[in-house]
Symmetry: C2
Subunit: 415 residues, 2 copies
């Protein structure tokens, strides 16, 4: 079963917003085993929308459209759908009643513009939107499905989960289509090209129809793809492929899914009952922000310092100004003292520190932009590590956060 | 001049990553006055890539491709380009030398796989990539341009800014194309449909060829579009349109561009020479991370505390445990003391604090999840504010950071 995603809106083409809706829908369809073969965004232009609907409908079994269903003049998706399906707009009584009630419950006046949201293409079924005024629209025609959803992310997701997913799954099962399944393997501490050399030709990996390398600040992810007649046999195939990869790159494998590393760290902390405090210089809170991303982080994250200036490294963390002067704020000496002292101040089990040069200024020959020192204090141990990260200020700061999380993950995994 | 953007990679179609590259390029082309008419993502499939290049090249004057230039087997953009342009792959000596030197400088071995990056389609010009091994590729053919850039965001941006932008601008000027210009107006405190009622039919707005409404959590943005023969006349046209809108919705207008608020704040800080320190509870460093996002932040950001546990609110910020017990950690009393005390400790001009319930747990009837208190200490003043933010944990923490930045912006704007 082949699917296409069409996101409508000039704001996407001109880069005013990042297209997260396409990713959300892509991920949801992929979970069902459907292949997403095209992902297209076009401006709010009627003739372009109609012809893009035609093109995508021709090459796919399922087209999901988002955007352009709102109450203002630039929202023309319904008009385009009427043109494409050659039908009129009609009033949907259920939607009409819902909008009246929604506004009444919020004490707001219903304007004609809001009421117009209850008009839908005659050939469509309205999919209820409990979070807003624009219903989803489902067209089933010639054995194909076409769906239009509002562009507001939580409205879109709500309609998908409640009114669409089961229907798509049913049609998928009826069609006896092949299932396409993906599996992600996260690696860390190895470059993409070296990883590829270790793995060799992807044809040697049993069962896979695709192997992709996805480098990022948090390491290189591998994505395996298999195709099979059903979910169970696809799972078996993918497990064989994973076993083969483990034999080749086992020591670089960090985890087997899309979960961010903070998921593992949070779980390890909750299991072992340890606590942590952080001292951040160049990242100025980003590590703390990441450590507290998930609910329940108060059980292990005690707090920390953003010691951005040298003065406060001395004042708050008790690092002698002489040490900072002699070795520099970005040094092994300062990094380890930051980790050790923040741990003592917070009386935590673990202290971790980051101090570096995020740039674009401040680099020297011996300490170029991207140089970051890490310190980690735990029990009797005091670890340190120096990295020189590539990229711009944002990239360097993000890489530093992930490097620190990885150090932490390795430490926590030991016990 | 019409442009299309093609992002290559199964990871985009299946929603494994969000397509930020397309937004980056879209924004850059839009700044030049070029219309982006299509924005397409397809999987790593050779025949699909070739036919999509053909389709986009047929409808556009400029096609920008990103992704699939890496060193591994799933990177097939170069092969697709050779097929489409009917040419061989040849060794580019300059690129070859650059890769050798890059690896040597980092003390890494150059593998055959890395060297293969120096092979490029014979009909392409290599655009130097100083941040990685894959050069950009420029094809000029039949009065059209086609460019392939690496998918790593900072490599892509680097090549665009240094080797591509001027060339595109030159071709644009030579072509005497119409310029398309957009202007964003940020509004706050009014619903999309009410805004549309106030503005009325977009045909009444002088000069505009497009008016779009972009609702978001931080307000509704309006986007005006005009077309003209050059930049200056387009500017004049857009200013007339803005004046018309000011007469209709003036009191809801917040600002006139896309810049994130941290840009304004950083500039205000640098102008007035003030300094700041932060105390964060539920956001645990996210505000500090945002305040230090831009280069030069060390001139105003001194540092701060992540006081996640109640214990460290007392220990580090000197807030009496009784006050925390009596009023709760999420209270006006604690928020204002956090702001006041962090300012005293850091001897900064401004102290700002965030303390709240990010959820999903910890809410009560009187303090539901989403309740956040803010404190701001400056001179003799001690401000506070309570907000109840909707959404999940991530959304609440982000909204809290955004709200704190807004308080700060309002304060800094005063002088």
């Amino acid at each position: 079963m082949k699917a296409s995603i069409l996101t409508i809106g000039t704001e996407i083409c001109i880069g005013q917003i990042v297209n997260s809706n396409a990713a959300t829908i892509g991920a949801k369809l992929t979970q069902l085993g459907i292949s997403v073969i095209a992902n297209s965004s076009i401006p709010d232009n009627l003739s372009q929308i109609v012809s893009e609907i035609r093109r995508l409908n021709d090459i796919s079994d399922l087209v999901i459209i988002t955007g352009g269903l709102g109450p203002t003049q630039d929202d023309i998706t319904k008009t385009a759908l009427c043109q494409y399906f050659e039908c009129e707009m009609i009033l949907d009584e259920t939607v009409y009643q819902f909008i009246e009630n929604l506004f009444k419950s919020k004490g707001r006046e219903v304007s004609d513009r809001n009421r117009a949201q209850a008009f839908i293409p005659a050939k469509a079924i309205a999919l209820p939107n409990y979070a807003g005024t624009a219903p989803g629209l489902l067209f089933e025609h010639n054995g194909k499905m076409l769906v239009a959803l509002p562009g507001v992310p939580y409205e879109m997701e709500h309609i998908y989960e409640n009114s669409l997913k089961d229907r798509i799954q049913f049609v998928l099962e009826q069609s006896n289509s092949e299932i396409e399944l993906h599996k992600t393997i996260r690696t860390y501490g190895i470059f993409e090209s070296n990883l590829a050399d270790l793995i060799g030709d992807s044809d040697n990996i049993p069962n896979v129809t695709g192997l992709a390398y996805l480098p990022s600040a948090s390491g290189v992810r591998l994505r395996l793809t298999v195709q099979s007649r059903d979910f169970d046999s696809a799972e078996t195939k993918i497990n064989e492929a994973v076993a083969y990869l483990e034999s080749r790159i086992g020591k670089y494998i960090q985890s087997y899914d899309e979960k961010p590393i903070i998921d593992y760290i949070s779980k390890l902390f909750r299991t072992n009952g340890k606590t942590i405090a952080v001292a951040e210089s160049c990242t100025a809170g980003l590590l703390g922000g990441e450590l507290t991303k998930l609910a329940g982080s108060s059980s292990f994250f005690l707090g920390g310092f953003m010691t951005y200036s040298n003065g406060c490294k001395s004042q708050l963390l008790g690092i002698a100004p002489d040490i900072i002067n002699d070795y520099g704020a970005v040094s092994e000496e300062v990094a380890t003292l930051m980790a050790k002292n923040v741990r003592e101040i917070f009386k935590s089990d673990i202290g971790i520190s980051i101090t570096g040069i995020a740039g674009p200024d401040g680099g020297t020959d011996t300490k170029p932009v991207g140089t970051v020192w890490f310190g980690l204090s735990y029990g009797e141990r005091l670890l340190s590590s120096k990295q020189i990260f590539p990229g711009n200020r944002d990239a360097i700061r993000n890489r530093a956060v992930f490097y620190a999380l990885n150090m932490l993950n390795n430490l926590l995994k030991e016990k």
